[in-house]
């Protein structure tokens, strides 16, 4: 029973929305659009569980005085302040809170966001140094094509041989495109098969414990 009901729901909705794709009529499109809106609402409620977990996780650390426990206080306070400012800032008469919310986003969250992104530049270097080694035939191909593309970017490459940028473009257009498409076919079939398995109730991992 506890397994049957969810499986029946999945089967019914799966078939309904598979068929919906082929029906262009007004009612069909309305149902589709309303459902999309409903899905957003449903998944939004799960954030309560998630935040519950976050609070629980850090409360435990504080209570047990785990190493660096005071950092958990930072997380909890930051979360509460930001959430409250964001929600109350929309209420009439409290626009100044909304202003503070935007300032915090602009000068606290956004810079850290960009800084994490920028760290990628360093990691590209260390990853290339470590992994671009001609350990095998395949690794050598990875190395050579990556090298040529990088050479295509710098003026030094064109000075070395004026055809380098063209070769770089060819690599992007021919072998790279071929690999991309080949992988896309496999991914597409795998995705379709998984959707099918979910609808038919074969794929049950989401029920917890492999659905046994």
């Amino acid at each position: 029973m506890k397994r049957q009901i969810p499986l029946i729901i999945v089967l019914t909705l799966g078939i309904v929305f598979f068929i919906q794709f082929f029906i262009p009529s007004q009612i069909s499109t309305n149902i589709y659009q309303t459902t999309l809106q409903w899905e957003i609402v449903i998944s939004a409620f799960a954030i309560v569980l998630a935040i519950g977990s976050l609070i629980n996780h850090h409360m435990l650390k504080i209570q047990r005085r785990k190493p660096h426990w005071w950092n958990s206080i930072v997380t909890l306070i930051a979360m509460l302040v930001m959430a409250l400012l964001g929600i109350l800032g929309r209420v009439e008469g409290m626009e100044s809170l909304g202003q503070l919310y935007r300032t915090l986003f602009l000068y606290v969250q956004a810079p850290m966001d960009s800084a994490m992104f920028a760290i990628l530049a360093f990691y590209m270097a260390s990853a290339a140094y470590r992994a671009f080694r001609a350990r095998s035939q395949e690794a050598a191909l990875l190395l050579i094509s990556g090298f040529i593309i990088m050479l295509g970017v710098v003026p030094f490459g064109s000075l070395l041989w004026s055809k380098i940028p063209d070769i770089a473009e060819w690599i992007m257009m021919v072998p790279n495109m071929a690999a991309k498409r080949g992988i896309l076919f496999g991914v597409g079939l795998g995705m379709t098969a998984t959707s099918l398995k979910i609808i038919l109730g074969i794929e049950r991992s989401w029920l917890g414990g492999g659905g046994k």
Partner: protein, 210 residues
């Protein structure tokens, strides 16, 4: 050196440096920034869910437009809360089933369209474009050949022997060349992001660069 007088710029600059300090090693400054980042972005997420999902998609239809159908997603969403009780815990499978059922049903045919039919069409269009002639056509056919060999690498139910082995190996070559190229092609963009940060530090915070 002239420093910015805007305290918020200082906050942003110091936090940026805290994050970068991780490159040396994990340290109290990074730890502080990390916990602040997780907290503030989680709080931001809550506000976004509230302002952009719950209010426009639930409260407005229910309380302003009096569209009582929207009680359904509200109730389904609230079923997540049954999790707090051992006995009723399984009920969260119902909203999950709704999300998964609609999601799978909706994505089935479009995936076939974009990942299979569309890709087949472009692969064939490139390989048979006689108007292109010469090298253009040859590269189109080479691409198609690469697509097929790459795809053959993903045959799982057969041992990689004989022709399949040869083909799968060629496929791996294409994959590796492609990955190397994507890697090399991403470097410039990532450095540009770093340049953006350095420019912020050296222009907005310390006025070194004009």
């Amino acid at each position: 050196m002239i420093f910015s007088t805007n305290p918020w710029v200082w906050v942003a600059a110091i936090l940026t440096l805290c994050i970068f300090s991780f490159l040396y090693k994990e340290n109290p400054f990074y730890r502080f920034a990390e916990h602040l980042f997780v907290g503030i972005s989680a709080g931001y997420g809550v506000a976004v869910y509230w302002n952009n999902a719950i209010v426009p998609n639930l409260f407005v239809p229910l309380f302003q437009q009096h569209n009582w159908w929207f009680i359904i997603p509200g109730l389904l969403g609230m079923m997540f809360f049954f999790r707090f009780n051992q006995k009723t815990g399984w009920l969260i499978l119902i909203p999950m089933a709704v999300l998964l059922g609609t999601g799978s049903g909706m994505s089935l045919a479009p995936t076939i369209q974009t990942n299979i039919l569309k890709q087949m069409q472009s692969a064939l269009a490139d390989a048979t474009n006689l108007k292109l002639g010469g090298w253009g056509l040859i590269w189109g056919i080479v691409t198609l050949f690469g697509v097929i060999t790459t795809l053959s690498y993903f045959f799982f139910s057969r041992e990689q022997k004989g022709l399949l082995r040869v083909s799968a190996n060629i496929g791996v070559w294409f994959i590796m060349i492609g990955f190397g190229a994507s890697f090399g092609n991403t470097v410039m963009g990532r450095i540009s992001l770093l340049i953006g940060r350095v420019q912020f530090l050296l222009t907005d915070w310390i006025h070194i660069i004009k």
